[in-house]
Amino acid sequence: MLQYIIVFAIVGIAAIYTVVKLFKQAKNGNCSGCPQDRGTDCACREELLRKNK
């Protein structure tokens, strides 16, 4: 029984984490750096600045 409780907890956490992560990624565009030629309105700029701090 304990095994099942642990497994369901892990699956539940994984499900919530994945959904949140996917939404976050969709919102941020999975930014890994400004693509070439984007100009100063680059959507990734905030992320880059945050990384740079």
């Binding site: 099942y4 890994s32 030629d37 880059l48």
Partner: protein, 719 residues
């Protein structure tokens, strides 16, 4: 009467000996005034002309090769343009030496003022065998171009008319600017943010231009910026940016900027000029002669791409085997340590098989991105876009559209965002719709898995064929969309041809690491999460009604062995067989199995069973999860803990054949990209209609092509 005339100020600039003064004289005649520029002894000539209701003041600026403030003349010309802000700048370009003269144009166009190019000495250029399509050059640079012959006063009226036309219109199109690349853009972004904090001090300047000048270490600009409220922070950031760029390229940023500008010019000239005689041949030209040759360029590009995928496979094979073996050991170890039961299955079948199945392809990903970085950093990718330009033009797009498409070979997300370089909305939309068909890096693990299973000796060629298929479908799509949804022709662009360079080790490493780290991160986050969910969906419900009483059959087999009817090996085989059937039935009855069975009738004509169906559904979250899902299918669905590698398991599975495998790969290539990419697509297009069209079109295309492959192959007796 002169007071009722509208006032217009026009600055004349150009290289020394470009015929600037001749044009100035032709425009103003004897109506000139000679003085000095403020504070210096450099001669300042002004002239006036009344024309079509305008009193035009012409200022003849000192002849300069650039606006880099390297000499007093350059500084004066620059300061006059920025501080006095003439209404229009006429850039006198010596047509017989166009490449060198356009260098100044690239700098002028960054200042944000209306420019007209007077393409002077066009007669001399023709004599030298240089033919310039000035209309096309104008369309490429987005600057009006008027051919002139100053000493014969040819084109002067047209130049005046153009001045009036520009003044009357009250607005001007932003000229095409040089693109300095991702790393430069990042540094510019950072500087712009600080510069924008005190707009008063820099009111006359474009922040982008200032940032670029600071990266060039322009002393005059630094003097001006020292009055900025955040000067210290700006200088620190500029120094940091310069250091980053120097470290990355092993070259001074100012030299790199010059290279980029000449790359831009070289691209514009290659498109808008033709030579009737051999004029100049440097190393870049000689290499370009071959690489962008009208007939050889495309086969060379195709050959290089094939080589890239071939190496991705052959070089990746060994390290892949090592990681696979390591994951196998880890799986066995976990199976021994964790007591048998549901947690054991979660860790071994869900986490280790699922994530491990994706991680083993890391060497291939590293090799692919290293190859892409190498092609990009040497300057070849720009040539590839140039070669594709001809094809793209024929189908209704331009080579510039191929750049986001090339980025799409890495990831669709930056590719969609990269489409912003295309100004025309229709061109941009078409480019975004077709970029989806460029096979992203996340699909590669699926190709490697399936190709490795069915065509171990020709895997590289099969993968190459998929990339070609993607490009062909993209081309067909452009044609369809051009004829059906978005009519009209594409606008002109400069295809840049930067000089070839030997890439630095650091830059290659950085580019490869960025992509590889993203892959690892994805495996440890989203893929891990989805692997756990898929494991759950494949393991539950636990209660299964089997088609036969296998426990009874197993006990009968045991009795038979005791009675001597079976030997130990035969018993083991029978037991293994029943256990496999039980595991398969259990999987078919799971939540995932039920979901898969639900969609099976739809995908059956493509030769796919429900297992491939759920793998495809999971691929909507991230394409790599197709692999992890397959790994979990064979982990959960296979009773034997020490089973072979996933590739072998798929290869020996009687449910699949090479024909089905290729139809499946074509589906993976063409169907909707991942959720993140779709969200970016929506954000970039700002249209639900376009997103829905994209989802429908890609799904229909994937289904249609896979159907043709499978059913067509069957008709031809291929499987």
């Amino acid at each position: 009467m002169a007071t009722s005339l509208k006032q217009l100020s026009v600055a004349l600039t150009g290289n020394p000996n470009s015929g600037k003064t001749t044009i100035f004289n032709a425009l103003t005649g004897a109506n000139q005034h000679v003085g000095n520029f403020p504070g210096v002894t450099v001669e300042k000539k002004e002239g006036y002309l009344n024309h079509n209701g305008y009193r035009i003041k012409f200022v003849d600026l000192p002849g300069t090769y650039s606006l880099s403030a390297g000499s007093l003349d350059e500084l004066i010309a620059r300061n006059f343009i920025i501080e006095d802000r003439p209404d229009i700048v006429i850039d006198i370009v010596d047509a017989s030496n166009i490449e060198r003269n356009l260098y100044l144009t690239t700098q002028l166009s960054e200042l944000g003022l209306p420019i007209i190019i007077a393409l002077n000495m066009s007669d001399m250029a023709a004599k030298f065998g240089i033919n310039i399509d000035h209309k096309y050059l104008s369309a490429l640079l987005k600057i009006p171009v008027v051919p002139t012959v100053g000493n014969k006063e040819k084109g002067i009226d047209q130049l005046l008319n153009k001045i009036i036309e520009l003044a009357e219109s009250g607005s001007f199109e932003e000229p095409a600017n040089v693109k300095y690349g991702k790393e430069f853009q990042n540094e510019i972004c950072r500087l712009c943010d600080i510069l924008a904090k005190d707009k008063e001090t820099i009111a006359n300047y474009k922040t982008n231009w200032l940032a670029l000048k600071l990266l060039e270490d322009d002393q005059e600009i630094k003097k001006m910026v020292s009055k900025h409220k955040h000067a210290e922070q700006i200088f620190k950031q500029a120094e940091l940016g310069r250091a980053n760029l120097t470290k990355l390229y092993h070259e001074d940023p100012a030299a790199l900027i010059t290279d980029k500008r000449y790359g831009f010019i070289s691209g514009a000239c290659s498109e808008a000029t033709s030579m009737t005689v051999e004029r100049r041949h440097d190393i870049s030209d000689s290499i370009d002669y071959l690489l962008i040759h009208p007939y050889l360029g495309l086969p060379i590009f195709a050959g290089l791409m094939w080589l890239m995928f071939h190496l991705t496979f052959t070089l990746g094979e060994k390290p892949m085997g090592w990681i696979e073996a390591g994951i196998g050991v880890l799986g066995k170890l976990a199976a021994q340590i964790i007591p048998a039961g549901i947690i054991n299955s979660l860790v071994v079948d869900g986490v280790i098989h699922g994530v491990g199945g994706v991680i083993i392809f890391l060497p291939n990903i590293i090799i692919l991105f290293l190859a892409i970085a190498l092609l990009e950093d040497t300057g070849y990718m720009a040539r590839a876009a140039f070669v594709m330009d001809r094809i793209m033009h024929r189908i209704g797009l331009h080579g510039k559209s191929f750049i986001p498409m090339l980025i799409g070979f890495g990831c669709s997300v930056p590719a969609y965002m990269g489409s912003r370089i295309i100004d025309d909305k229709t061109d941009r939309l078409i480019t975004m719709h077709v970029t989806t068909f460029m096979s992203c890096g996340a699909r590669l693990p699926v190709y490697i898995l399936v190709c490795g299973a069915f065509w171990p000796k020709n895997a590289g060629t099969i993968v190459f064929s998929l990339y070609v298929l993607g490009v062909l479908i993209a081309i067909a799509t452009v044609k369809i969309l051009r004829n059906w949804r978005f009519r009209g022709m594409s606008s002109a662009f400069v295809m840049e041809l930067p000089p070839y360079r030997v890439p630095t080790f650091r830059s290659l490493l950085l580019h490869t690491w960025e992509r590889s780290w993203l892959y690892i991160r994805k495996a440890g986050t989203i893929i891990l999460g989805i692997s756990i969910i898929m494991w759950f969906l494949m393991t539950f419900p636990q209660t299964t009604t089997y088609s036969q009483d296998y426990n009874e059959l197993l006990s009968r087999a045991g009795q038979k062995e005791a009675a001597g009817g079976l030997d130990v090996i035969q018993l083991a085989e029978v037991t293994q067989n029943y256990e496999n059937i039980m595991a398969a039935e259990k999987l078919a009855n799971s939540f995932a199995g039920q979901m898969g069975k639900l969609i099976e009738p739809v995908i059956k004509p493509l030769g796919f069973d429900w297992r491939l169906g759920i793998a495809l559904i999971s691929g909507f979250a991230a394409k790599e999860t197709v692999v992890s899902t397959m790994a979990t299918v064979y982990g959960v669905g296979g009773a034997d803990e020490s089973s072979d590698s996933l590739r072998r398991s798929i290869a020996i599975d009687p449910a699949y054949s090479p024909l089905k495998a290729y139809a499946f790969l074509a589906f993976i290539l063409l169907y909707v990209p991942c959720m993140a990419a779709m969200a970016v697509f929506l954000r970039e297009t700002g249209s639900w209609k376009e997103l829905l069209f994209q989802l429908f079109y890609t799904s229909a295309m994937a289904y249609g092509i896979s159907l043709i492959i499978f059913q067509g192959g069957k008709l031809l007796g291929m499987g």
